[in-house]
């Protein structure tokens, strides 16, 4: 294929392959995964590409192992990723919690298909929205992005690695089968133009006691030392103090878990990505993400032609939730519409933050919601306004 790490140039590729190339461009060092439709092409591409540049690809025995392995790879200092879908992401939830607890930066790609269970192996879903946020037990936060094109799959994979490293947090690329499998132009920039944020490292050489969980900066992110760097670190999934030592007391637990959550909350403005379309004078605010946002944009354009004051807020980041932005929009809007390929997950989250009516345009999954269906909902709402 090519011994270059970054395939600078114009390509016609699907979202899965663009995700893999995004990982390459982000200088992934370790990938562990287990095949599952519709994410398999990510692994297949990386199986070919990573060895070309001396990186390590391994197919593990299952998704439990894959997720555990990328945490190990990350704590050994490599940018690490896995990719899965459906039942696979459910298995990964166990150690997603471990990654959150150990504050191990890693990227987890979920090319969503229809669930629950084996569901629709080859067809799209967007119904892992709440699982992404709450799927492992306990309180924690993750970051999640949802691309609406292969180009954005590339871009957001790079961003996910950067965010994961900056905030020492597992970051999910919450794509869907439509984006994973559709082929479109992807422009890969020059290697020098690809942003690369480094992990925060200890400032002192390893003597005395380094504390891998002591966050002294305002961003609440502690520096990280990797295996083999001489810091004699200890990492555990148990509740731990700043040295990383188990300390199963309510006070330590309160302090640790609060920081894990606050770390994402206080940095939300840096993490959140949204895109506006015709929102300036919008009385009806349509919210959508991933593949569904493509239909939503067309529906807004068609509705505008009919004089309906509707605009689209496209959520590029899914978690953390763009609370502030939604509240601002609420100051001028009469109604919110949320279009998503599930039976009302994001709309519940919107409902929590606005007092206006929130109308859902939903489908359980398997086929993209059409622009016509969204337009119909907009017109119905406009008729009531």
């Amino acid at each position: 294929m090519s011994n270059r790490r970054v395939l600078t140039g114009n390509h016609f590729m699907n979202g899965d392959i663009a995700t893999a190339e995004g990982a390459m461009a982000a200088r992934i060092g370790f990938f562990a995964g287990y095949p599952i439709t519709p994410s398999t092409e990510v692994a297949e591409r990386l199986a070919r590409r990573m060895p070309e540049v001396g990186d390590t690809f391994i197919q593990m025995e299952d998704e439990l192992a894959s997720m555990a392995a990328i945490i190990g790879g990350s704590l050994a200092g490599k940018r690490s990723m896995t990719a899965t879908s459906g039942p696979g992401i459910s298995l990964m939830m166990e150690n997603l919690g471990l990654a959150a607890m150990m504050e191990a930066p890693c990227v987890v790609v979920n090319i969503q298909r229809g669930g629950p269970s084996t569901g629709l192996p080859t067809l799209a879903g967007q119904s892992d929205i709440m699982q992404a946020r709450w799927g492992s037990h306990g309180d924690y936060r993750i970051i999640a992005y949802s691309p609406w094109s292969p180009q954005e799959a590339f871009d957001l994979t790079v961003l996910s690695f950067n965010m994961a490293d900056r905030y020492r947090v597992p970051t999910l690329l919450l794509a869907d089968e439509v984006i994973g499998h559709m082929v479109e132009r992807v422009v890969i920039p020059e290697e020098s133009e690809i942003e690369h944020w480094e992990r925060k490292k200890p400032t002192k050489p390893p003597n005395g006691r380094f504390k891998p969980f002591e966050a002294l900066d305002d961003d609440l992110v502690p520096p990280i030392a990797h295996a083999g760097e001489g810091y004699k670190v200890h990492f555990t999934g148990l509740t731990h103090d700043e040295r990383g030592y188990p300390d199963m007391t309510p006070d330590t637990h309160q302090k640790l878990v609060t920081r894990l959550v606050e770390k994402i909350r206080v940095n939300a403005d840096d993490i959140i990505r949204t895109e506006d379309y015709q929102l300036d004078d919008a009385k009806i605010v349509l919210i959508s993400f991933g593949c569904t946002a493509r239909s939503a944009r067309r529906a807004v354009r068609d509705a505008r032609e009919q004089g309906i004051p509707v605009g689209l807020l496209r959520m590029i980041s899914i978690w953390p939730f763009p609370k502030k932005i939604i509240k601002e929009l609420a100051s001028n809007a009469d109604t919110f519409i949320v279009a998503e390929m599930n039976l009302g997950q994001m709309s519940r989250e919107v409902e929590r933050h606005v007092s206006q009516p929130v109308v859902g345009v939903n489908h359980a999954g398997g086929e993209m919601i059409s622009p016509e269906k969204i337009l119909k909902a907009i017109k119905e709402v406009a008729g009531d306004v």
Binding site: F12, T37, P38, T122, H181, V183, E184, R185
Partner: protein
């Protein structure tokens, strides 16, 4: 303007590659937006399969083909299955060695499989058809599609594929001249 194209045939005829090559030509060598989609899973196995592209001057929102403006059918089953999905007045292109269209249908035909056999490799049937489609529809420049072919097929097979493409393309020109 949004143009929708559906390539169809039976498994093994290289229908997905047709969509990929045409999409590649349009997205990378013409100043156009283009999305390609294909059926996955049980739907994609056996029977009539298809690959689909949407072309436009503007960014494409809804990526799926709803009513093709251009339908290419390489098998009878594909013709029967997909002919009703095409728009009124759509351009219908068939391998007329394999497809027997309904009497009232106005189609453009090429015996693509025969051409490919004549070239020595049945496997290039799809590329013969690409040449024909390119000439009949004028959707992309000849050079763009040739570049896309060169970028897609195995290096060794580029000369054969370009020959196949030219055969289809020239056949269309001859037919048009004859008209």
């Amino acid at each position: 303007m949004r143009t929708e194209i559906r390539f169809s045939g039976f498994g093994g005829q290289g229908v997905v590659l047709m969509g990929y090559i045409m999409g590649n030509a349009l997205a990378l060598h013409e100043a156009l937006e283009c999305v390609m989609t294909q059926a996955y899973g049980p739907e994609a196995r056996g029977g009539a399969s298809s690959s689909n592209i949407v072309v436009s001057k503007e960014p494409i929102d809804y990526p799926f083909v709803q009513e093709p403006d251009i339908l290419v059918a390489l098998s009878q089953e594909a013709y029967t299955k997909f002919r009703p999905t095409a728009k009124d007045g759509a351009t219908i292109i068939i391998d007329n060695g394999l497809v027997d269209p309904s009497a009232e249908d106005n189609t453009h035909g090429i015996p693509a499989t025969q051409f490919a056999e004549y070239l020595g490799r049945r496997i290039v049937t799809n590329v013969v058809m690409m040449g024909f489609v390119t000439a009949v529809t004028g959707i992309a420049n000849r050079e763009s599609v040739e570049k896309a072919i060169e970028a897609t097929v195995k290096t060794k097979t580029i000369p054969l594929n370009l020959k196949a493409f030219a055969a289809g393309f020239d056949y269309a020109l001859e037919k048009e001249l004859a008209k």
